[in-house]
Symmetry: C2
Subunit: 560 residues, 2 copies
């Protein structure tokens, strides 16, 4: 028992008054998935008791309102919101979230240990308890090196520090299966390790689980999720900006296995969070898909707390954190108020931490020669696939100087090393639909180099130049018109308030649509350099075959 709790025993017994008593609440009992009409007493941010006899220094009649434990996101990359952690926390707290389990692997790819230190510093004063899993795979592959390499020796210094609770998603499945020494050392750092095992099945799934990772948020089919549950994995049902698995997976949830299932948002942009919510959105969608509200709420609370051995939260019972929210109704689940350690989150004026990051854009704008394509004939073209982050490898016959080929929707795509190592790679992409202008961004998984595409070399270079000058961000250039969301924090996150980031995202969406683009071009652009996903990618070295796992030229027969 922490010493701080000992002082609360008299209040818990009703001998001393509580700070606050919430009367006439319909309290969710996460242990049995039932409701209890009762009063809730809080002191020093802790629930001291439930019962009718408590007296509080302050009291409030909830008139029968539904009170549920604070919601928990079991797996998220905060950087994907484009918000800095304290602003992210302010936003999701208003949605009922009081704990997030975050893997800071985007910023770790850019800034290494310094990035993790920044994320840790941002915990202070936030209206959400941000707990981190250490990024296990930085870089994602040996070919995908960004700004840092996190070896087990560097990670070990973080183990045991406040705010660090385990090892984040182990994406290096081959490394696990082949008992790679460095991977084994990372797995030995802690006994709490999240998995990442898309489509892994059978004996290799068994081996992966045996090696340690015992959760998965990558399931997309019922069969996959059921096999992983049976083999001992905790399942995080994911619903992000682009990865939406609730509808497919909800039918597998039963009262028996609900204690092993939680929700994850993984990657959610600020605009989605602002408009549709966070874990509350997951609960609403799960209920719409047929899950009992009590099952959905348990997933979002006690099940996640139990998975991470957080016995101080996840339920409304004596000695636990007074993290809870008031909702209109279990079924419609609109969050009306959130309380974090007993205080309304609306009272938090969350301020950025004093921590800062050194400049992460350390390159110059390429010359026109550096992005010239020389060659002709049959060429490899990256084909976007709507709604997916994977790409196709297409073949087009290309004549000199026919790119951009607007009628055939073939555009140049450029990756420019942001860390000052000078690499510039150029390829051809099909599917963006731009008729005019260009876009560029410094969000580009996982190395987060600068990536750009567009209808003219001039505008592509201008967009890249804009990113470099602003220190990172997302930019659209259409002739002389510039639309920019500056991501001043490592080129990944903005220190602006959520509503301003949302407004900028809306403006970028509007202008890119006017330029002829498909929806969400920055999302597709951000994954186009990710070498771990098939089939054809582009890096700062040029085209990359994600199946053969090697660099390839654009033209099948160069200079024939």
């Amino acid at each position: 028992m922490p010493q701080s709790l000992q002082n609360l025993i008299p209040a818990s017994r009703g001998i001393e008054p509580a700070d606050m008593v919430y009367r006439n609440a319909e309290i969710f009992d996460a242990f049995s998935c039932t409701w209890e009409h009762n009063d809730l007493a809080v002191k020093s941010g802790i629930i001291v008791g439930i019962g009718r006899s408590y007296r509080g220094i302050r009291e409030r009649d909830l008139c029968g309102a539904y009170v549920v434990p604070g919601l928990i996101d079991a797996h998220v990359h905060i950087e994907s919101s484009l918000l800095v952690p304290h602003e992210y926390a302010r936003l999701v707290a208003s949605c009922g979230t009081t704990t997030v389990i975050a893997d800071p692997h985007e910023i770790a790819n850019v800034a290494g240990s310094e990035g993790i230190e920044y994320m840790l510093a941002e915990r202070a004063g936030a209206p959400v308890d941000i707990l981190y899993m250490l990024p296990s795979c930085v870089p994602a592959t040996p070919l995908d090196i960004g700004g840092a390499r996190l070896e087990s020796g560097m990670l070990s210094g973080f183990v045991g520090r406040a705010g660090i609770i385990g090892l984040g998603e182990m994406m290096n499945m081959p490394g696990v299966l082949e008992s790679d020494k460095e991977v084994m050392e990372k797995l030995s750092l802690t006994d709490m390790c999240d998995g990442h095992a898309p489509l892994l099945t059978g004996m290799d799934l068994n081996a992966y689980i045996l090696a340690g990772p015992d959760s998965d948020h990558e399931c997309i089919t019922q069969n996959e999720a059921e096999e992983k549950l049976r083999r001992g994995m905790y399942i995080f049902v994911r619903e992000g900006s682009t990865e939406k698995n609730i509808e497919a997976l909800i039918p597998i949830i039963t009262p028996y296995n609900v204690s092993r299932c939680s929700f994850s948002t993984d990657d959610c942009h600020a605009d989605l969070l602002s408009r549709e919510g966070h874990i509350d959105r997951c609960i609403r969608k799960a209920v719409r898909c047929g899950l009992e509200p009590e099952c959905a709420i348990r997933m979002a609370t006690l099940s996640a707390a139990e998975r991470f051995r957080l016995s101080d939260r996840g339920a409304l019972s004596p000695g636990r954190r007074a993290d809870f929210c008031i909702v209109d109704n279990p079924r419609t689940f609109r969050v009306k108020e959130t309380f974090f350690l007993g205080e309304p989150v609306s009272s938090y004026t969350s301020a950025p931490s004093a921590a800062s990051l050194s400049a992460s854009i350390r390159c110059t704008t390429p010359s026109p020669e550096q992005i010239r394509l020389s060659g002709e004939g049959p060429a490899r073209v990256i084909g976007l696939v709507p709604g997916q982050i994977l790409t196709e490898s297409l073949t087009y016959d290309i004549s000199p100087d026919t790119i951009p080929d607007i009628p055939r929707d073939l555009l140049k795509v450029v990756v420019c090393n942001r860390y000052g190592r000078g690499g510039v790679g150029t390829g051809i992409v099909h599917g963006f639909g731009f008729k005019t202008g260009a876009i560029a961004a410094s969000v580009s998984h996982d190395a987060h180099n600068i990536v750009a595409t567009g209808t003219s070399d001039k505008e592509i270079l201008s967009a890249i130049d804009t990113i470099i000058r602003t220190g990172g961000g997302m930019a659209a250039v259409n002739g002389n018109e510039f639309t920019v969301l500056t991501l001043d924090c490592a080129g990944l996150m903005s220190s602006l308030p959520a509503h301003e980031v949302t407004a900028k995202l809306d403006a970028l969406g509007k202008v890119t649509a006017e330029m002829g683009s498909i929806a969400q071009p920055f999302m597709y652009l951000s994954f186009i350099a990710l070498t771990v996903i098939p089939a054809l990618r582009v890096t700062d070295r040029g085209l990359f075959d994600g199946i053969a796992f090697r660099d390839v030229p654009v033209f099948y027969e160069k200079n024939r």
Copy 2:
């Protein structure tokens, strides 16, 4: 991940053969409470996988037999079996048990740290993983001092040692509620503490839970168990030799809360274990009481493992211990074979540890004068209550030298300090029914002094003398006929095989019945000195009022 698991990755992938593959098993999936027909592969005592493609150095066709994870007893005092741990383990292993969470507080009351060391040493080579919770209340009360006092400073030396997983049942409820310094220090030793809170409710229950203990095995009514569940306690449904709560509590178990409920046997004699079983008996009874077999099996396996954060057991999944048993049918649940770390428990020739305990009986037989009752008139008489360990405080008019009063069933009861401190207390008891002879024992909760009752001073002293001469045990004396179960280990446990202890218990039962006794006289005798239970007790100082909590004389007006 433990290093030892890394070596199993190739076997888990099917690249190397497993040691053993069990084919065609109906495997219990504890995560979803369903069954799966499949093959189970084991190597080095660990489950390396489930699947049809495994090959084993040895293979065995189970022909569709039901395989469930090894059973777990969530709370037990091994000493109560009267068997030493290695023999206890051999016995319960044959019933499907592979893990017990034991609180060695009986031997700790007799032998302190030395007793705990002995129990720890007995873990080696046992076919059951014996995990200990440190005794939190030795002595049970300041008035109940036996052979030792375990302060938090002494307990702290055990924290973190192999085989120690937390703090045992915190019986000192007043000490918790009053924030007693020593109790608070004990609660601060670990974040895993079992509770013991019979009938505690409302705000005091809240305060007790807030202070740390978060399980309870003392519930006897549904209301009590439901309140404790709602307030965050894990519930261990108890079914011991005398405490039987399954029938009353099973109706509260639902698929939603089954993950928070387990089974406990608390105190079970060897004869009951031999004849009726252990946790398998609890499963059978729960099913007879209407629980779905899958719910009962989950309670006995994964739920207990999760409560104690033992992620290496409780289910049949890759990386977990190959602890499992084969049963005839989920509903009838007869255990046919048990496997501990992959080996059949029948192959274990469990040998006693080299550890030994110093002699714990350090007293001499009292003289007839020391057990003389002087006085007459209205006297306090301990009244046994059938089926309960509590007693009544009765009043009888007693004339000099009328004790024993066979017609009124009034017998002398004597407690003799076994630790050489010389105290001898004498009282009068109603309810044993003896017509001839006497019995004595060195099992006497919690101080474990020597306690005796009978129909003549001569036979009482003779029985006590027998206990002293044999170094502890249970004895019945009927004229010149002596029947003795020697408890050579601290006067609490026998190093004989279970079947011999059972035979001796049977003999004692037969002879005491012939002497006119009610059933189980040694059980009633063993609780008659326990001062924490109302209403009237006897200690080595004399009579004790368990309600007023003070020593009292036998005669209301002494020597009137």
